[in-house]
Symmetry: C2
């Protein structure tokens, strides 16, 4: 597949120092891919002029160069002046943009109780654009711009992710991008999601039936007990994508849980909603993570009623009604306690379905009999229940995250009448 | 400050496509900074040979080039062959490494029920290193290597973060890295963390007392209602760092909450522990996020007893004892309900201290009187309580995250007898 190349340049000192993870690069890469471009590189640089200039120079060789950050009012914000330099253009004051930034700055001055004159120099700077640049207007106080490079294009957007995402559609609507995207066609995309299988087994199966090539690209990616397969293809690769997908479906029939990009918490909520069930959680080692994942989904309240984070034995007894005899005989980390927690959550929260998790997240608290990573899960619904005990690897937060994912998948298996049911 | 330059090259198709956020780049950047190097660029590329080769070629100009990924057994794993190409070296089979990989592969073949011969070609490939390379041994099945480039060095490590982090200390212990790091000295690092102040106000104050330069670098970074200031300095900049820190301390005295890198959940747990208090949570709109953040801290069980995720009114009544009259008169999103939730959590969970959050995370559920983003928080301890109502901006998960952070800071303010108390 030969698609136009997109290069992404992200600038921010805190990003190149690793203080914070960049979110704009992945966002713009997904967008480029969706539009039929080939995201070939994400470069993260700080605000040193020579590093940013070098990255921008390389970006000029791409069909589309997407730049995030460095559009603010201070001297460290150098994206515009360096874009002017690498494209050999002068800077010109955009009067309309200047008025817009003035208006926003007056409000900010008032709110912050600072004299408006503090902002003056910054406004002139922010309203000066490379000759011929198309202004996308403001999101926040920083502008977005598009440069037309005759067949190629540059888009520069502000660094705050919400602002970048607000201006991006406006960039797509400009003449240079419309022209560029007229040449592309979105690639076909087929998604297969597996749970409970080794990444290498899936990769091996994929190789075994021909692997990549001939208009098809594949990625296999392990994420917290799930394996995500993405097949991208053009017209020539469509039939091969179908063959590969069919082979994976056959080879890992009982591990396949989705053929779209919905997360497991979405699937669980959809299964509950379809069956008219309300949902509750009872969490010890996951400490609220299962509930937090479920409630991150808009509309979770249609299904999810609530849960108990029962970190200590006394809370397991008082809030979930786990009998002290069960805790005494089997311990807090046991299949019996997990079952009592789930049944307790159904009763106390008044929900049809519940999942419970109890385990040892570490780093301390493990023993020979019950090592760090041991997690007991129990899911219960009207007329059925499923339980499992896992020995998870990784550090504390990995164990917690994987236990939460495993708990959600246990719910899915319990709720799906059969695994072929689309939800 | 002129420090040796470190360039980081991360390879992975799923990363350059934005399917997954890269964690290795930020980790290696922080490590480079800690060791007195200047992390100047993070390049993320896929497995196309020309893109990876170009990124590696650029990396050769740095004092230290750190490479993550592309060391696996398949044809897509091209880091080693391309490193050989760009350094002009041949590939040589490392017999000892070959035996190591063989051993690991036999176990994997057995576990996956696949014939060992499937692995043969991959082993030869993985055990072939550029001439003169130093093998760091295996983590998982992939090796790590160090190349000595006479004054400069290249380190290549496997992509899975846990494996990369396991082999990294071994790389530091090799002759080329020891020689390189002998020239560097760790920069001084001063940290100031603020809550409840605008990023621009802090940046403005910093500029007002001289800003960066003369051996001092500063980053100001807003994160979910917090503002993080990091000052890096060498010998010449130390006095200026002290002056700037003192000015920020004076200017934002009541907003300063930490001068180290501990997260707010760590501080809250430490404050509770110091005062001998146990802790509980009562969450509606945050859906378990506050409890999850607290329990992500190792040893949280010394302090945190548990919590209730009371998403629906019925759970607020049944599990937290919120009177139906309060819900009826003031609504679920009200200061009165938040107070009743916090008091209910203290009583039901049997904890000394509790925090409650109730609000409208959106995107639906808002009204003119109570818009999306409205969040009521209440924190209560023996002999005291604090409450606040916020109007947060952003999408659903941003509102949830910010509400959780605000709830934790409310606890901190309640628990700190005075704000100068170090915890």
């Amino acid at each position: 597949m030969s698609r136009p190349r997109a290069v992404i340049v992200v600038t921010g000192s805190e990003l190149v120092r690793g203080d914070r993870s960049d979110r704009n690069g992945p966002y713009l890469a997904r967008e480029a891919l969706r539009l039929g471009l080939e995201p070939s590189r994400i470069s993260i640089v700080g605000d040193r002029p020579q590093e940013l200039e070098q990255a921008l120079r390389e970006g000029m060789f791409a069909d589309l160069c997407l730049v995030s950050g460095g559009l603010g009012p201070t001297h460290d914000d150098r994206t515009v002046e360096l874009l002017a330099a690498v494209t050999g253009r002068g800077l010109v004051l955009d009067a309309e943009l200047e008025r817009e930034i003035e208006g926003v700055s007056r409000l900010a001055a008032e709110r912050q109780g600072r004299p408006y004159t503090d902002f003056r120099a910054g406004i002139q700077k922010q309203a000066s654009l490379p000759e011929g640049a198309i202004s996308l207007g403001l999101a926040g106080t920083a502008p977005g711009i598009v440069l037309d490079l005759e067949g190629r294009a540059v888009v520069a957007l502000p660094g705050p992710p919400a602002e970048l995402q607000r201006l991006w559609p406006r960039a797509l609507d400009t003449e240079p991008l419309r022209r560029l995207l007229w040449r592309t066609s979105s690639p076909g995309h087929r998604v297969l999601r597996f749970y409970g299988v080794a990444e290498s087994a899936v990769a091996f199966a994929l190789e075994g039936c021909g692997g990549e090539g001939d208009g098809l690209e594949a990625t296999v990616c392990a994420r917290d007990l799930e394996v995500h397969v993405d097949l991208f293809y053009d017209g020539a690769g469509e039939a091969r994508a179908e063959t590969l997908a069919a082979a994976l479906r056959r080879g890992f029939e009982s591990e396949l849980f989705a053929e779209d990009e919905r997360a497991i918490e979405d699937l669980v909520l959809a299964l509950c909603e379809r069956r008219g069930f309300s949902l509750a959680t009872a969490e010890s080692c996951t400490g609220g993570l299962i509930a937090a994942r479920l409630t991150a989904v808009p509309g979770a309240s249609n299904v999810f009623k609530g849960g108990v984070v029962a970190y200590t034995d006394s809370v397991k007894e008082a809030q979930l009604g786990v009998p002290s005899s069960v805790l005494g005989r089997h311990g807090a980390v046991s299949a019996e306690t997990a079952e009592a927690m789930a049944e307790g959550a159904r009763e106390r929260v008044g929900a049809d379905v519940a999942v419970a998790a109890t385990g040892i997240a570490g780093p301390g608290g493990g023993s020979e009999e019950k090592p760090v990573g041991r997690v007991c899960l129990h899911a219960s619904c009207p007329g059925g229940a499923l339980a499992t005990t896992l020995n998870l690897t990784g550090d504390r937060t990995s164990v917690q995250r994987r236990a939460a994912v495993a708990g959600l998948h246990l719910l899915r298996r319990l709720l799906a009448q059969n695994r072929h049911e689309a939800v």
